[in-house]
């Protein structure tokens, strides 16, 4: 069996478990944590699938996903903490 397929199965299982937590999670922070973990595993999945398909150029997409995931999570946290995205007086 191809070793990249093994790694892909592991990463996909982890994404499934993160989705389980995102559906279960009692608080919003559990859901954000699961979404962040899902995004990180998406980066790994794209990298591994590029090697599996013999086209490692897909790593550019992985870099893009890492950036998008980080910015999206920070925006979501700001929204859940302050209930809006940009406010001057509430930032300490």
């Amino acid at each position: 069996m191809n070793v990249f397929a093994v790694a892909m199965i592991g990463v996909l299982t982890t994404m499934l478990l993160a989705l389980v937590r995102a559906f279960l999670g009692p608080t919003v922070f559990d859901r954000v944590l699961a979404a962040n973990m899902f995004g990180t595993k998406t980066v790994l999945l794209i990298a591994v699938s590029g090697f599996l398909a013999g086209r490692p150029e897909w790593l550019d997409l992985a870099i893009l996903y890492a950036l998008m995931n980080f910015i999206g999570m920070i925006a979501l946290l700001r929204f859940s903490e302050f209930s809006n995205l940009a406010s001057d007086e509430q930032v300490k």
């Binding site: 199965i9 608080t27 954000v32 944590l33 973990m37 990180t40």
Partner: protein, 120 residues
């Protein structure tokens, strides 16, 4: 000989990395509390991602692809502690309590005497 060693290193890195990812995923589902779940999620971000990307880099050799892999790894190393810090800080400032974490830890470690854990 060198080729066999490299092949073994690739296998080891990728298999151990995906194993750490799956273990962290199981931890995220099964841990009793939000803060312990954040700990389990951090395991997949550090060891799992590092080992998988290291295995891919060993497979590709030293070229542009491994430079990109190093960039992805650097980005994950910078962003994932920042994200975890922001997430836990937001949860803490929202007043999310961890009431049963000590009980859960004590039950997991099967510490019978609660007095002994006070100064630890």
């Amino acid at each position: 000989m060198m080729e066999v060693v490299r092949e073994f290193a690739i296998w080891f890195c990728l298999v151990m990395g995906s194993l750490f990812c799956v273990i962290g995923g199981i931890g995220v589902v099964r841990m009793p509390d939000f803060y312990t779940r954040a700990h389990a999620s951090g395991l997949t971000d550090t060891l799992g991602a590092t080992l998988i990307l290291l295995g891919l880099g060993l497979h590709s050799g030293l070229n542009l692809i491994s430079v990109k892999l190093g960039f992805v790894l650097f980005l994950l190393y910078v962003t994932s502690p920042t994200a975890a810090h922001a997430l836990v800080k937001a949860a803490y400032s929202k007043g999310l309590d961890a009431p049963d974490v000590e009980d859960a830890t004590r039950a997991a470690l099967t510490l019978s005497d609660p007095e002994e854990t006070g100064n630890g």
